[in-house]
Symmetry: D4
Subunit: 188 residues, 8 copies
């Protein structure tokens, strides 16, 4: 029984359970419209080949949006309109939600906090606390090491990060970010 067969079985099980693996990986073949790029098509053909490569978990939009929505609502409940941003493991944006009344800079800050959290697998305020000893943390492109960014982990691995910006302090931003993560923890 080779590795491919085991993985094939696993994938089939995953699909029968209604996960969105199949769909989420469907990618349009941008320049070659002749070859069908429709999301439904690749599911049948893909399994065998895909399995030859290692896999990594990712946070689907559905969960990322839920975390961001919850974080936003949590801060609004405290009276603070904020922006919540969720990025993937590479620091690429999955979701941005800017609450009405949150500043443009809150958008930049929430992104930078999320990028820092994903990039160094660490809460952004912990990085801020380290900056006195390690000022080079201020130089990593895209980082904003203010409180309010938290990595999102699954199985002990960072798969994404959330950043919140716009509340009167980074400590408050962080509580909202944590609320966002809590909302999706059962799915992680």
């Amino acid at each position: 029984m080779n590795n491919k067969r085991i993985l094939t079985t696993a994938a089939v099980g995953a699909l029968s359970l209604g996960t969105i693996v199949g769909l989420s990986l469907a990618q349009p073949s941008f320049a070659e419209q002749g070859t069908s790029a429709r999301a439904t098509a690749p599911q049948a053909a893909a399994p065998a080949a895909v399995r030859a490569l290692p896999q990594m978990p990712f946070l689907p939009l559905r969960l990322a949006e839920k975390a961001a929505t919850t974080a936003l609502a949590d801060c609004l409940r405290q009276g603070f309109p904020v922006t919540a941003t969720v990025v993937n493991e590479d620091g690429i944006t999955i979701v941005v939600l800017r609450g009405d009344g949150a500043s443009a800079a809150s958008t930049d800050a929430s992104k930078g906090k999320a990028v820092a959290s994903a990039g160094f697998r660490s809460p952004s305020d912990a990085l801020g606390a380290r900056a006195a000893a390690d000022p080079g943390l201020l130089q990593v492109p895209g980082f904003v090491i203010l409180g309010g960014g938290l990595p999102i982990s699954s199985g002990g691995k960072v798969v994404a990060a959330i950043g919140v910006g716009g509340a009167p302090s980074g400590a408050i931003d962080k509580t909202c970010a944590q609320a966002g993560i809590n909302a999706i923890t059962p799915s992680l």
Copy 2:
């Protein structure tokens, strides 16, 4: 009867019409936590002073998210995972939703299309068609003049813009963007 009182009355009317102006404008007084920055507080105190300034309509997060969600679903129904971005009149992000399987570049492209549409009050593909005669359109910072960006207007004025990226062609991206706008047209 002075100017302030007239304006106060107008604002009350606006509020009685169920707008969410009060909440949406609540801004945290970032550096001065002593003065309450809570969203619920300014509503009572604000009316008189705010009214001395002219006002402009803005697209609230609720509608921006509805447009983006609809655009994403419309493309997914056609088999294409995409990213949908909504920016405000200044080109500042309100919402980003990246569908599972949409590339990182689709995020950049959807943003650039929205920024171009808001910036020049024009569908982004119309700008693309003009580029042969006006190559300088390629130089405006933040613009991506591929099809898929559309301004969002209310009362004949551009208040925001949506950009969609990731489908096999800009023409398809544009139909999804239009679907997003259609979903919120009754509220515009």
Copy 3:
């Protein structure tokens, strides 16, 4: 009958139509010249639709220019040529005035101070004082947290910000910025 009363009357007319949008919101329909984009046209057609969206106050050019001119004059009276920049709530430039003899860097600095003040709803020097504890403030794109930036508020809400750069110290820059705001306070 003074200017204020005239404007009040105009505003009342606008308000009775549900907006005080007036001229300032007229936007050229960039790519579609066939449909008249003239500022005078939309006023009749817009009212009903615009009202469906929430509104936010904005600082018109007339007031922004008055604040910048006053700030510049105030610093020049003290012997210091400076640059004064006013940005809107999103950090987008409304006015820049660079005094003769003010350096190019004073232009960058005045912009960055204004952007920081609008972005975090805070005087820029207050942000500077916080940087020892929150070094991530140095990473927010576009910020310059030197003294001389002040948010411009109306009704308890930040609607814009002014930044002044070029005097021998940020403290002096700040007094000029404050003078600029004072000059328009009756209109806020």
Copy 4:
């Protein structure tokens, strides 16, 4: 009668004629507040030494603002809110005025047009027309070679440039820019 004395006389004459040369060159000694940096002080001490260097004309803020204000009014009279930017010979901003309702992108575009006009001593639309043969014009940092930018010359030399953005076409932007220059031509 040596060069120094001739120039000294000229400077005195200039001052007695009320020009703002003396003031405009006063620069605050930023870091050394002990040595007076006040604009009034250098006037007495400067003449002899300054004269050892060659001189170049520059457009004072007063004229730059007049050109920008006129350009803005000219476009508004046609029904189009725009942004007008004036830069110096080095492409550094002297004045920005963004009309109410002009987009954020109009600010970027007006700046880029002015920078291109100053940088290549040419109307920006002439550069645009050349781009088919010289596509590298699209790569010069800061340039936007759309119509609406014009160099401002004095004595056959380019001393500054104006850029206008936001009207439905670059041709209209250009007429407003020209109106701005016309308003200050007697002083050039």
Copy 5:
């Protein structure tokens, strides 16, 4: 037999077959050195939780380096020192190899070609051919749509991309890139 168990079995099988899946996902918990961040530790604890999220295939360093090395050698055999870059699905660099004598710009170009190929799931020269009709392709951040970039697919899905730069023409660069992909095709 639920989904979790199937996947656990698969993972165990994968490990016993010497794949590097387990290791590759090990991430150091950057800021919390107390909690062991060693790659060997998470393997035991992770399985159950990781499986709750969907998975996506990724190109491991081993294969990316093989593709880059082969591409470089293929071009060198033709007499051309080049740079080969492999990026992941998000356009993030996995491998860069700059041949002795390849220019610094070949490094930038190879990266941009790979980013474009991953971003639009298309050979970079196909995008270049489309630019006359779609000039906005020149504006997507990070793209270089010269020949020499190719997406790397597995199971019909783009998982990475390779870009080669430095040969006398993009067509030659492309043949080397294809040689690189051919070398790893059995593993895709």
Copy 6:
């Protein structure tokens, strides 16, 4: 005797003394080759019109190159290959000379030091010493507040700045920069 006539006389005197004022202001009319842009032509026509505008001194290339060459030689005599950069009052480069063996980063650093010195009319190390109290100095675009940058003044006004980078300490860089200024002081 009006201002114009005095200045005309002065200009003539300047030319007869061999200064390069006339030549240095000659600007090619880039896009209109029909109208002669030759440096010799404008000299006759310019005087009257140029005089309507205020003038500012500038550091001609001849002096800027002398300062840079001297600074370079001074550091090399001490055993350190460095880069010397001279910028004008706006921070625009006039001269760069990178000594053999000086690093690429020394070029960036020397430029940043010069830009900071011109921008804030201050030695760059004085700005560095202020950064603990004013961390926002780290955010001004283009600044590098390490020792080695010095403003170049004439008649109490900053007309340019020099930056040196590459010696083992900023203090040494500064002595070389000072040597460069000393070499041209008689001409300032």
Copy 7:
């Protein structure tokens, strides 16, 4: 007779002429394919002329890749997936190897550490330790002064630099970087 022997012979010829330019310096004549740009051609013609210019040593890809591979393996042995980057004396990338599981930010950080080490001929952590006194080190473009970057020297001269990022601390990153250098020390 294989390719290696041919090249060896050519190299010997080159060496006997006093250079080892050989293959590594062969550069394609990008735009002029007519003139053969093949690496084997220049070897015969080059020697005499090349010698008129001074020469500098450079780190060939073979050694750079060996250093990076060793550094990566050293960190992986300790349980930490990292990115290793080697840049040349100018800070231009020669090799990047991102271990499976290393974050995107580790790639940016490893590059920045290498660039800082090459740029200031210093371990990056030594620069970090100096930043309290010399905060301007945070402003040099491209630098990341966290531990993990080391210059690579030959004959007392810096010829390249290596940077490692992704381990839980910069100190660990540095040990891996040192291991990488140790592996090639016999060839330096």
Copy 8:
């Protein structure tokens, strides 16, 4: 006779030919001032170790400055003040000389032309001519493919490049650049 000995001999030969390798490679040990970083010291110790690495020719400052000075003078003789920039093989600046009256943009353009010429081993205008077929040439970072840039070759290899900007046409800029190269050809 091993490789090291051959190389040692070659280097000795190079030194006996009076090259300035020793001096030009002297690099300050930036962070460790205790170990002498003086240029004179490494000469004795370096030979043996340096020779283990391959070598590449570089254009010393003396020649780069001569080329730039000649190019500048050649354009000035035709009546056009320009900027001349020389970069090394990696596109890093060696010399910039901006003639009095040349615009700030001419500095950017001359740099971009030189970078393009070094990067693609081609005259910049040849690249411009190719852009219609290969529009991606407009995307390579730092390139300006206008006429006026030329690679500088020695022994059939590109070792540097010169770019000239500011004359009324790229064709004129190119003649000046060629004049600059001609002046140093005997030394190449």
